[in-house]
């Protein structure tokens, strides 16, 4: 629940930030030909003639009713726009995170079990290089190699090639929805579209996870209890996976929230490179057009995700670490 004050902070900052975006929405809505009077009228309609404080109260009231306002760009309600695009972003981010975890944790363990050997150095160079690569650059590079040179990947546009129909919505994840529908061809096509952007994200997230795993494993392997377990003749495999790894998971869990938040930010660039119809690319367009309701909505969705994520992490933490209990 510690995230609640942050959430309030985010709402305030998001409000102030978007009200200070350049451009006057009333002028935008009224159209180019509108005169002063009709602009004033629209301003009144939008509530923009009221004080900032008043506007904030109205905004909060609308929030509690799930009303995020109307997007200037598309004329649709922001809530429906976001909910339509949100699964695309989530599917991409989660796939990227899963790939990163699958690669990074073994790498981290490998490096920690062989500290200061060439294996360790190689792991370090590899993940550091991943974190050093600008996400738009690695995305373009992957497109060049796998689409242009090798032709293995489909053209990097959207979630599904145009001659497939999007599957009926259940979860909003195309791959899963298609499988639920029994349409494995579409599922495979969706997966093919997904794989390159997901890898791009994963490369970026490798480093923090792998390095945290390594350092936490090193700390655990150097601890007194591992030394004692070794002296007591406990199997090395058991020491690594039961004694050291479980303890190493704790610091790893604490950084997962930040890793996820990084991935959400990186999403914006990936979605732009791969023309992915998620909330990130939506937000970029909205920002450029000073579409404040849309930007606000986007930031709020992100903040809510952040809060939910931290909650999940806290729960996981109490499950792994007996020293922390939920009731304090």
């Amino acid at each position: 629940m510690l995230a609640v004050p942050s959430l309030i902070g985010v709402i305030v900052v998001a409000f102030v930030l978007t009200r200070s975006l350049p451009g006057d929405p009333a002028v935008y809505f009224a159209g180019i030909t509108a005169d002063e009077e009709s602009i004033a009228q629209i301003r009144e309609q939008l509530g923009l003639d009221k004080s900032i404080f008043h506007q904030f109260i109205v905004y909060c009231k609308n929030l509690t009713q799930g009303n995020l306002g109307v997007s200037l760009n598309t004329g649709q309600s922001v809530a429906s726009e976001l909910s339509a695009r949100f699964p695309a972003s989530l599917e991409l981010t989660l796939t990227g995170l899963a790939l990163a975890l699958m690669a990074a944790i073994p790498l981290g363990i490998l490096a920690a079990v062989n500290p200061n050997t060439w294996i360790d150095h190689l792991c370090r160079i590899f993940v550091t290089a991943g974190a050093s690569t600008p996400i738009f650059f690695s995305g373009l590079l992957l497109v060049f190699v796998f689409y242009y040179l090798l032709g293995w990947a489909p053209s990097p546009i959207g979630r599904l090639d145009f001659f497939y129909l999007s599957p009926p919505k259940v979860t909003g994840f195309y791959t899963i929805d298609a499988m639920i529908n029994g349409d494995f061809e579409t599922a495979a096509a969706a997966a093919k579209q997904l794989i390159l952007p997901a890898i791009t994200l994963a490369i970026f997230a490798l480093a923090p996870i792998a390095r945290m795993t390594r350092s936490a494993m090193l700390t655990a392997m150097g601890s007194e209890y591992v030394k004692a377990a070794t002296a007591n003749g406990i199997d090395r495999r058991k020491i690594i996976f039961v004694y050291a790894l479980r303890n190493a998971m704790l610091p790893l869990l604490t950084i997962m929230g930040l890793v996820f938040s990084y991935l959400l930010g990186a999403n914006v660039l990936v979605e732009k490179v791969f023309s992915w119809p998620g909330i990130g690319s939506f937000a970029v367009d909205a920002l450029v057009a000073s579409d404040f309701a849309a930007v606000q909505g986007f930031i709020l969705v992100m903040a809510v995700m952040f809060v939910v994520l931290n909650l999940v992490i806290d729960i996981l933490y109490t499950l792994v670490d007996p020293r922390v209990s939920i009731d304090g």
Binding site: A131, S132, F136, A207, T219, G222, E224, G265, L269
Partner: protein, 314 residues
Amino acid sequence: MGDLLLNKKMVRNTDTKLDPELSQHSQNSATPEQHDWRQQTWYILSQNPISMFSIVLFLIFILVGITGPFWVPFDPIASDTSIALQAPSFLHLFGTDHLGRDVFSRVVVATRLDLWIALSAVSISALVGTSLGCLAGYFGGWYDRIIGRIADTILAFPLFVLAMGIVAVLGNSLTNVIYATALINIPFFIRVARAEVTIQRNHQYVQAALLSGNTHLRTLVFHIFPNCLPALMVQMSLNMGWAILNAAGLSFIGLGVRPPVAEWGIMVAEGANYIISGEWWLVLFPGLILMLAVFCFNLLGDALRDLVDPQKRT
């Protein structure tokens, strides 16, 4: 970037745990002379070629940043469409772009701008973040709660998106890119400084300083802060890399630096349209150099950490 995350819960100092007797022993045998640390630095670097590599690379980048504009073969912004989109050749080492500009010259000239953005942004955030973090760590209580909330609130945004928003609000200019980059780096300095001060303030030398008649503020600034510097230096190096990435990302989506100025992010963005038709050099070279610069600062951070505290390297 990974390292920014790591300082949150760092378990310190397992070095001597392995063998408490050993550290004592080596202390006895070594002569405590001034050249001691220099010798040790050299030993650590020679043991770790990667650190050595990063330092050399860093010096090259600095050199190119300073002297680059004076020796590039072509004017970085003079276009000549008759030689557009030429593949790398002996004359144009990195090829030419869609306006016939020499990619090599542009990449070289861009070094100064990119490093400058990163350096100024990181300096601002280090100054602000460290001061706030020190106050929070030393005085605790309300200072800590409020400053902690500020850091948490910033971190509750996807940081890149926040930077985008700030640039959009403040106006699309280079200075605003610097401010935005500085702002999103502040929480990391707050955290590191706070964590370090919290560790240091539990040392008894702090109480000794108070007994010697130092006020709390004086103790914090003259006794505790200097002992936090190594950790902050490491953080600065890592944030440099990240600031470069961030600034390039902003210009990639069209914020901040505007064409025809040579900047790595813009160059990649401009080349992006040509990659699916096979003109790879437009993206590859600026992207690669950009990556190398970030890579260099990340490794440099590792190298510094290695010198300061070997167990903290991750």
